[in-house]
């Protein structure tokens, strides 16, 4: 018999061919399906290719319910970062006491060389907050309109000055262009919502301006020149007056800007390292805003940004949810992105460059938060709601049950965090607190494939949410013990402490 005689029968051979064919066919059928879904997803967000499991919702309809009829413009001077606002609940003496407690705990950490609170940690946190606001002379990057006088180098000439028409593109083209520019300037991602009648209701009545000054503990309100009003006027161009920031009453768009922060540093409880990471978003934002305003000026348009401080005309988390970068979380002080997780900062910029609005998303995140209570369990003062369902009613603070809430607005069905409880603890720590963000189930890195599997599952069904929350705890994800904080200084981490390749699909960087 020939040595090459096959022992495989004709029947088995054909069976094998059929199986291989079926396998190849399945693979071929599946690949373009996912590719098609990716293409469908990416078109809603321009040149941002998002995972297929992130679903779009219709514009203005995010996963948290909003009653626009109840929504009211908020006075930013009443936010609890303002000493006056805090004192209106707990009294001036308590505010000053907390201020001194913070100083004392900081000094104690320095003296005892506590992990995360040593001299080098504090120096990093302080340095990281350079350019955060325009309060410090020489650090005035943040302004309402950005650079206005053409300079030889560093300030764009307008098309008018160059003798050419201003840039004209379709809203889709403009979104792609602006995203490419802003990613280059340092934004992790951008998305857009139309500043329509509804969204105008979340424009603050006033900027914080200098209202953070402790002198205003004793005399309130600050003069209009110190905390200017945001107003609409029938003008073609935005401008800044003595006592107002003026928006033109014409079609405008809000650009939500996401700036990632270091996931590792946010796992370090109340250390200065966490503060350094937190400050980094404001520092990066200052540059991003200035460069973007400059870019828009060069195209013949305007960008109305954060005038001076940490706040802009609209609450940035709201714009993140409305424009589809993120969903709301259980703690209504921060939102959660499917790509960046819980440790991400958001900012807003208003422009008259026509842009394609991007839809809100459903990645199962807010639904997951209905089950998970990891942030609530991590909060040292129990400030985050443990309720099973979100509500329209804003409960009074446990600290001041007889006082109405003036630091939040009705019109959204969320889990309402007792921000006053949070602030009193927060302000007394050497470097504030963000345990909730650091411990969140969605604060995971991107190397282990299980994270993508979890996010896909969470997006597809809520049946396993309880199991996944418990698994997260069992696998040890979350905050790093204080004694291990100093190890950060030995790590080799990416540029700016963040994964800049997220959202990049060209160039072979992933």
């Amino acid at each position: 018999m020939s040595n090459f005689h096959s022992t495989v029968s004709r029947r088995d051979f054909m069976k094998g061919l059929g199986l291989v064919g079926a396998g190849l066919g399945t693979a071929t059928a599946t690949a373009p399906l996912f590719k098609d879904l990716d293409d469908v997803s990416s078109s809603a967000w321009g040149n941002w290719k998002r995972p297929w499991w992130i679903k779009e919702r219709e514009l203005g309809n995010p996963t948290i319910e909003i009653n626009w009829n109840e929504m009211q413009r908020f006075d930013l001077r009443e936010n609890l970062w303002m000493p006056h606002a805090l004192a209106s609940y707990v009294g001036v003496d308590k505010v000053l006491q907390i201020f001194h407690e913070k100083g004392a705990s900081q000094a104690e950490g320095l003296k005892n060389n506590k992990p995360g609170q040593s001299l080098r940690d504090l120096a990093l946190a302080s340095a990281s907050s350079t350019f955060n606001t325009s309060y410090v002379p020489g650090q005035e990057l943040k302004t309402w309109l950005g650079p206005q006088k053409t300079e030889f180098s560093g300030v764009s000439a307008t098309p008018e000055e160059l003798g050419v028409p201003k840039w004209e593109g379709t809203p889709e083209e403009n979104l792609k262009m602006l995203r490419a520019a802003m990613r280059f300037f340092g934004a992790s991602q951008i998305a857009v919502s139309a500043l329509d009648t509804n969204e105008r209701k979340i424009i603050s009545t006033h900027d914080t301006g200098n209202a953070h000054n402790y002198n205003y503990l004793y005399s309130w309100p600050p003069p209009a020149t110190d905390a200017k009003a945001f107003v609409f006027e029938n003008v073609d161009k935005a401008y800044e007056g003595n006592d107002k920031y003026v928006l033109p009453d014409k079609p405008l768009w809000t650009v939500c800007i996401a700036v990632q922060m270091s996931k590792e540093m946010f796992r370090h409880e109340e250390s200065h390292l966490r503060m350094a990471a937190n400050s980094s978003r404001y520092r990066l934002h200052a540059t991003i805003q200035y460069l973007t305003q400059n870019f828009l000026r060069g195209l013949g348009y305007q960008g109305m940004g954060y005038p001076k401080s940490y706040w802009g005309a609209l609450p940035a988390q709201a714009t993140a949810v409305l424009s589809g970068i993120a969903e709301m979380g259980r703690n209504d002080n921060y939102c959660i992105s499917p790509e960046f997780g819980s440790v991400c900062g958001y900012f807003s910029l208003i422009t008259d460059l026509p842009l394609m609005p991007t839809p809100p998303i459903d990645a199962g995140i807010f639904r997951f938060c209905h089950t998970c209570r990891k942030c609530a369990e991590a909060c040292p003062v129990g400030g985050i709601s443990f309720e099973a369902e979100p509500s329209w009613e804003i409960p009074p603070s446990a600290i001041a049950t007889d006082k109405p809430i003036s630091f939040s607005t009705p019109g959204k069905r969320t889990y309402h965090t007792d921000a006053l409880k949070c602030r009193l603890y927060f302000d007394a720590q050497p470097s504030y607190c963000a345990r909730c963000m650091g411990t969140c189930v969605f604060n995971t890195n991107t190397s282990a494939m299980v994270h993508e599997l979890v996010k896909t599952t969470v997006s597809s069904t809520g049946l396993l949410n309880g199991f996944l929350w418990n698994a997260d705890k069992a696998f040890g994800y979350g905050l790093v013990p204080a004694e291990e904080t100093s190890k950060w200084w030995d790590l080799s981490l990416p540029l700016y402490g963040q994964d800049g390749s997220i959202g990049a699909t060209d160039g072979g960087y992933k």
Binding site: T7, S447, A448, V450, F475, G476, Y477
Partner: protein
Amino acid sequence: MWFLIGLVVGSLITALIWWIKKAKANLKWYEWIIGILGLALLLFTVQNFFASFAELEPTAAYTFLLATGLPSLIFLVVAWQLVTRRIKSS
């Protein structure tokens, strides 16, 4: 890493098919399923184990060995035993 894993797994599959032919094993459909599940779970475990260390999550890494690694070994052993015991009895 995946390239090396691919080489190793490819070699193992080749060796497995050679052995199946030599022993005239003729695997049952459920033996294939259990074996493939075990291999997939093993690869999942290996990837998450090393990646968890890279993510500075050693607890997660070791928990993967227990939570998914152990079941993967059980699946593979069961598939192996089903096949070898059937061959012995025949």
